[in-house]
Symmetry: C2
Subunit: 331 residues, 2 copies
């Protein structure tokens, strides 16, 4: 992975660079126009430091299916803010200390402040969304936010649960991660004036790459490098979140090995780094990591196949590249 | 306080009992129609166990100023859900263990789950709000939610801050508590078809009783009884939240006493019950508690004065009684 001929995120997003910059300005304005006491906290929330895949998806879909309108900037900004709010709350759940090469808010301040800043950004995202012309779009963002929380709650409910199978894992990540990409695709196309079947195609494309993104994220939590990812890793096993490679491995293991590994996952005496170290060789050797990547590729290949329904365009090419990027990314 | 001739909450809300029951049905449906894995968690969120002052305000204002419409039920339900979501997150911040005579979600499950259930209810409230006919109303709920978070963040920022003065306290509680009552009054009147100046009156009425409610809440945290209140008390001093009686007392104290008391508040070695016990006599004897109650009464008297602009009606009478109730309530 990672050969010289591969396309960078910046190159993929080149056709919509002006719109990406408009999102950046909008998010910067969120910080600058906030109450002076809140502004420094929002600056620390790193709203601007993401890869911008979700806003990029909104704009590329709009370009590929119809007209890019000012409401797309608003939509992309609101989705990015909701994404950020969920990350801030996730970092509390994971006791994470780093995100986007910065201290997490729970570390820099405390859990209470991180709860409230996440809430604030979430509420502001809805205020922003309301400035769009489409009441339907705003309602769908609400349903999407509900789905994200539902997926996250299911994940917490099933921590340390050796019975979590692939079907339940896929349902859960479709809700917690797929739903935002799905909304980006669907609403990007709808606001562009696309036909109903095209809107459906873009929703499915988004959902598929969202699921692939999460599978890869879960693999990187096991095999990625913190310095490259810029965030705390190895939290999943420590928090009892069973992800695809682990589910695959445990599914093929003997009852004794399963029991032994579930005890390791649940042990408070073993550090998260050590848990990961004791798993990762087995996962690699058994092919469980490769299996998870193959399942992610299956999703992105399906996503690319869906794009065949759209007319060829530079934006459609970027969407194809975006699908590949989601799988091969190292951060 | 608490004489036999006083009007109960149920009596005050009698003119809108049918609507209050409709809210209860709507909130029950939120639990019953949720994903089966989430339903038990939502049942534990005690959505139905509040006093219903905020929904009651919506309906009484509507009755007193125009026509009560189905959207009022939706509005009242959405506001009550947002209120509940903020309580759930507050209980995490306060390490509270009891709320509405039930275990808090952070105690029954854990902080992570309480964060997520609060988020879920917040998102669902927006979905519900979107089913209203008025896009403006939904946008205002977003601004209100932002104001609540802003007030809460300021409160956390100023914990253990002996320089927090009355003006900053009032600004903070107007945002964190007044804003929801204000929105209930304003939107209750607007959806009823009231004239612009009547809408403004109801907004101001709501904001004033919201502020009074919070002052009294802060007094009850110091002098109330947990068994009566049904929730964890004495958390404010322990968490360094300086409220009106304490601000009043410290403002009149010598620098030495101030320093001594701020040290007591900040001490990890003294239990929250002991902190309260060591403060409460001084606060009572100095008249600081009475002062805070007098300030609350000042707000509710102003609120009642505003009602003179509305035509006499049973609903207006209930709004007058509601203002008095907010101050004399024991829970």
């Amino acid at each position: 992975m990672g050969s010289a001929g591969e396309v960078s995120a910046a190159e993929i997003l080149a056709p919509v660079r002006a719109e990406m910059e408009a999102v950046e300005r909008r998010l910067r304005a969120e910080v600058e126009q906030a109450d002076p006491r809140l502004a420094p906290l929002l600056a620390d929330a790193s709203l601007l430091r993401g890869k911008g895949l979700r806003p990029g998806l909104v704009f590329l879909v709009a370009r590929a299916t119809g007209a890019l309108r000012p409401d797309h900037i608003t939509l992309a900004s609101a989705l990015e803010m909701i994404h950020n709010a969920t990350l801030i709350h996730d970092d509390i759940l994971d006791d994470a200390t780093a995100r986007r090469n910065q201290m997490t808010l729970n570390l820099k301040y405390n859990n209470e402040m991180a709860v409230l800043i996440g809430d604030y950004i979430f509420a502001r995202a809805f205020v922003l969304a309301h400035s769009m012309d489409s009441a339907d779009a705003v309602a769908q963002i609400g349903r999407m936010a509900t789905a994200i929380c539902r997926g996250e709650i299911k994940q917490v409910l099933r921590r340390f649960d050796a019975d979590l199978d692939e079907a339940a894992y896929f349902e859960l990540i479709a809700e917690k991660t797929g739903s935002l990409y799905e909304a980006a695709g669907e609403l990007g196309a709808r606001l562009a004036g696309a036909a109903a079947d095209t809107i459906r195609t873009c929703a499915e494309y988004g959902a598929a790459i969202g699921v692939a993104f999460q599978i890869v994220d879960d693999c990187l939590d096991l095999v990625g490098q913190e310095a490259v990812m810029g965030k705390t890793l190895a939290t999943d096993l420590d928090k009892g979140k069973l992800t695809l490679p682990v589910i695959r491995y445990l599914g093929a293991a003997s009852p004794e090995v399963r029991r032994e590994l579930m005890e390791l996952i649940g042990s408070a005496a073993v550090s998260r780094g050590d848990k990961r170290a004791r798993f990762v060789g087995r996962l690699r050797d058994s092919g469980a990591i490769d299996y998870a990547y193959a399942r992610a590729v299956q999703e992105t290949e399906r996503a690319k196949g869906l794009l065949a329904a759209l007319a060829p365009s530079p934006a459609r090419t970027s969407l194809e590249q975006l699908a590949d990027f989601v799988v091969r990314r190292q951060c």
